[in-house]
Symmetry: C2
Subunit: 448 residues, 2 copies
């Protein structure tokens, strides 16, 4: 059945059938599909749709909706039903929903929630954004190490509804410190009488609550884990992070890199309103406007040179553009490389040397090419030489700028992607104009 | 223990202890850690390290190494041991290792492998790169629907070593067609006498073998699945894709987007040799060189205007730079947005209208600002008006170019990221010069 056919059946069951026939359809849908159907339903059917869903289904549905729809649904359900749902919801999803709501509404909702649940949410929302503590959830199953396999399986059965993933059981000691882990596969292959302490795996890979989410993604990707335990400084187990949360982190971090590299402004998507998008993009553009005026005053400084040989201005955009671009190329290589690999000083130096050679090779080839073109276009051998040698030098410098600036930022613990494309481009613009007109002024006697 | 301490213990056990003490350490290490230790071991210890590992451990170790080390290890182990390992290896990892090896070596290795295994690899390597067929593996467990829960659990136990993840069991009919799925959690919560056919979930989300890997990532991310079944056209189950493979896909696709947006050349990382990196980056740079010459000839065409009012050239880099940048901003928003959301014609039109408004807002603000600056800097009201109105128009056009071009490419089923940053920048460069000098020429009488 296509999405549209499913929708027609849903509408029909809402109109003619009872709750039972509606539930028969719902039990076959994934939360994403449920949310898709809800979003595309005619407004007049939406209330009954929500009414017919169970609390558990609503708990699954809400995190899949966008922010506006979440608000709308919570509003339609009323405070009492909403808090029941929030009590049931995984804490990481709950924290992310609450963090987008109006503080007043959050307070109202939390005050109605179970004390135990609301405390957990408070703790979760107090961790720094984009750290392990903020994205972890507490839906894991733990056992003491003196358990037998049989006891472990029984506890697992009792908590199966609660546990988000059933791949690992975590083993803790009397002080709630994490001492081991056992996969469900190992449980299955063991004898029911075996002691957990004997068969568990004790070199557990963990992350600290304060670990950056990007680092967590790196570790999960490295080990191909489905989930990873999160511990406090004293090794107390406080949560787990699952790979589906990490998928979102990786997409978000890649988007942030692209936002920074293209200076496109924070968090603009297809649904952002035009004036919000405009004001998020403006700061960068105004900065660039002023930096662009520096280029203007450099040209102003060399205006007598240009007035004498107007042909010099023909090559200006090409030299500035290519220098800017070679810098962006190097920048992209550095920023993306640092995502999967850390660099020490020696490796950084090796990279800078590599990029120096890249600059020399592309500078020599492009410089030679433009010399020939300039000579045939303008009929001046000196002009060809000036343009060609300028391009050689500016491409080398552009490549190095695009490599060294992000590496320096990285060493200073600043996100290297902040050295965004346009910033590198503008620095290279200014350097390339200085070099080009500097060389041209030196040869001005031969050029005129 | 730190990585270095572990390494010292390993070296000691290789020198003094026997295989048993070495295995005690290894059993606590993850494949990634094993590979890390192997890579950082002094060369004289490496042979013994490999000798002491079991075939299963070698099978886990090899996919974690880089290409050169893989070759080195396979060479050290010899053909006989290597083929044993390749027989055991997950097919997707195997296919990705073989696809980087020399064809002659591949033929030699495959000819020694078990017929059954080598046939599967042949089939896998025949799928188009970057499709579901190429990244799937066949380590899944399937059962017929007449099984009881008890029979299912027994089969699962028998195949537990083989199954990469134990989250789902797939249910197939007599013709090997996929008819249902059941999670391990559901098995656990069911009665041992229940029939699988009664409790299975029959609306299975699947992907086709030819589905693009980016689309697979979108689906897995959407549903928070740990794995997804892959089927042929006739719905025969042929493999599964697991979320850890998808993590790699998402990182790879984000890198490709950044490569294209910054035109930084295909697959350059920290280890790429300088001449290779240079030649991968050159095609773009040479293309940009020629496009840059078009800007040059536009300036050439307007050289009499510039000669009359040299101050016009001061604002040239700023206008071109800002138009280019606003285009890149829009481009980045479109390219990244399309990763998580598909657009129909109506939505595309809405997006274009949104970006038109963004262009008008930022154009009006930046244009007004630069008018004032130009007036105070050069003391000419007309010049201020010319520069400001040019910036207003070019920013609107730049924003639209950066939106419409990738959307058109997307409708034509071309990857919109190919409309790379530099390309949009260059198109906008040319347009902005034409508009700026066009307006300036119209007012030339008032400017001189």
């Amino acid at each position: 059945m296509t999405e549209e056919e499913v929708r027609l059946v849903i509408i029909q069951s809402l109109r003619d059938g009872g709750r039972k026939s509606f539930q028969d359809i719902m039990s076959e849908l994934q939360p994403y599909d449920m949310a898709y159907q809800y979003t595309h339903l005619p407004s007049k059917n939406k209330n009954k749709f929500l009414l017919y869903l169970t609390i558990e289904q609503l708990t699954d549905l809400i995190p899949e909706l966008n922010q506006e729809e979440q608000l709308e649904v919570l509003h339609k359900l009323g405070v009492e039903k909403s808090t029941k749902i929030l009590d049931l919801m995984e804490n990481d999803k709950l924290a992310s929903i609450l963090s987008t709501l109006d503080p007043e509404i959050v307070d109202e909702l939390i005050s109605e929630m179970k004390k135990e649940e609301s405390e957990i949410v408070h703790i979760l929302m107090n961790y720094t954004p984009e750290t392990a503590g903020r994205i972890m959830n507490n839906r894991f199953v733990w056992i003491p190490q003196h358990y037998t396999v049989r006891e472990a399986v029984d506890k697992l059965k009792a908590f199966a509804e609660l546990a988000e993933y059933l791949n690992y059981l975590y083993i803790i000691d009397e002080e709630k410190k994490l001492v081991g882990v056992i996969s469900y596969k190992d449980l299955l292959l063991s004898d029911l009488q075996d002691k957990i302490g004997d068969i568990m795996y004790s070199r557990v890979v963990t992350v600290d609550v304060n670990t950056d989410q990007e680092e967590v993604a790196k570790i999960i990707g490295r080990y191909d884990f489905v989930s990873i335990p999160v511990v406090e400084d004293d090794h107390t187990l406080v949560g787990i992070i699952t790979v589906d949360d990490i998928l979102d982190v990786i997409i978000q971090e890649a988007n942030e890199d692209i936002e920074k590299l293209s200076a496109s402004g924070k968090a603009i998507d297809f649904n952002t309103k035009s004036y919000i998008a405009a004001f998020r993009r403006l700061p960068w553009l105004i900065l660039l406007l002023f930096i662009g005026l520096i280029s203007g005053s450099i040209i102003d400084g060399f205006s007598s040179t240009i007035e004498q040989v107007i042909a010099l201005s023909f090559f200006m955009p090409m030299i500035a553009g290519m220098t800017g671009n070679t810098g962006t190329q190097s920048l992209a290589v550095v920023v993306r490389g640092l995502i999967s690999q850390d660099l020490n000083f020696k490796q950084s130096l090796k990279l800078v040397m590599r990029e120096l050679w890249v600059g020399i090779i592309i500078g020599a080839i492009c410089g030679f090419l433009i010399s020939i073109i300039a000579y045939f276009w303008q009929g001046s051998f000196t002009l060809g030489l000036v343009v060609g040698s300028s391009l050689l030098i500016t491409l080398i410098i552009g490549t190095l700028t695009g490599t060294i600036i992000p590496l320096l930022l990285y060493k200073l613990n600043v996100d290297p992607a902040i050295a965004s494309g346009p910033l590198i481009t503008t620095i290279n613009d200014i350097l390339s104009l200085l070099i080009y007109f500097g060389i041209a002024s030196a040869f001005i006697a031969q050029l005129t």
